[in-house]
Amino acid sequence: MKEKDFRDNETLDLFKRTGGNFLMTSIDAVIDWGRSNSVWPLTFATSCCGIEMMATGASRHDFARFGIEVYRASPRQADVIVVAGTIVNKMAPVLKRLYDQMSEPRYVIAMGACAVSGGPFYYNSYHVVRGVDHVIPVDVYIPGCPPRPEALLYGIMQLQRKIKLESITRPEQTMILGKQ
């Protein structure tokens, strides 16, 4: 999806309606530029997708090009939690807590079929959370079992695009644009 499609007519109407003070929009633009270009992920991986996440960070695919280099082990300092792998009932409270420990603004990427919907463990399993969105709000879903590193990179770029449309001076616009 291209950025111009992402800003569909409805969004543009909204822009027109709410107008926008020049100073405020500039502040928004600067902050969004900073936030979107520096999305530090939390080192959080539960299973197979974690390996692909590591592969994305490694030499060939190189996350760092997008400024997503600094893996933080502490949730306080991370911006995005890439839920890479299955979340089970025992892990769900821990994940919720991790999410709560992160400082705003925080984003969630559900990576892989398990995090999106439970994936191969949807049926017949007694201990799997069917989709991480039962526990925490998700910004970007990346399908695949596991998704290729390219898919993760694309997901990250979608997240950056989403962050660029946020507004701290007009929070109501952000609400409409999808971040609940």
Binding site: N89, Y123, N124, S125, Y126, H127, R130
Partner: protein, 152 residues
Amino acid sequence: MDNETLKARILEIVPEAQQEENKQFLTLLLPAAKLHDLALKLKNSPELAFDFLFCLSGVDYIKQLAVVYHLRSTQHKHALVIKVKTDDRVNPNFDTVCDIWRTAEFHEREIYDMFGIRFNNHPDMRRIFLEEDWKGYPLRKDYIDEVNIVEF
């Protein structure tokens, strides 16, 4: 030691043992009370020397609950399967063997977690995978969980 001599040797120790049919291993069904004694002898007598418990699994035969011990001797390279069964589905229990083979400590906790079979004298008999307040034992055939399981 080949299977025949092995069988004869074990029947010496536990005369009540019954052989079960299995192509791969010598499989013996034991009365639960004799399990710990036999296990000690299997580990410690030099000509048997079963020092490696390479699999320990619980099986639910609907009427009975069973625990299967796969044993091998790293020295003599012979293998043996021991099986114990109980009819008691409410409060099944066996003697622990984790003082003999340390690896049993975790495996027995797993069996307790999945089948609800308790092991006497086990140092730390708690659930290992599921939460402490989990209701029921998932690998039993009569386990019903309408909340968590989506049937295919």
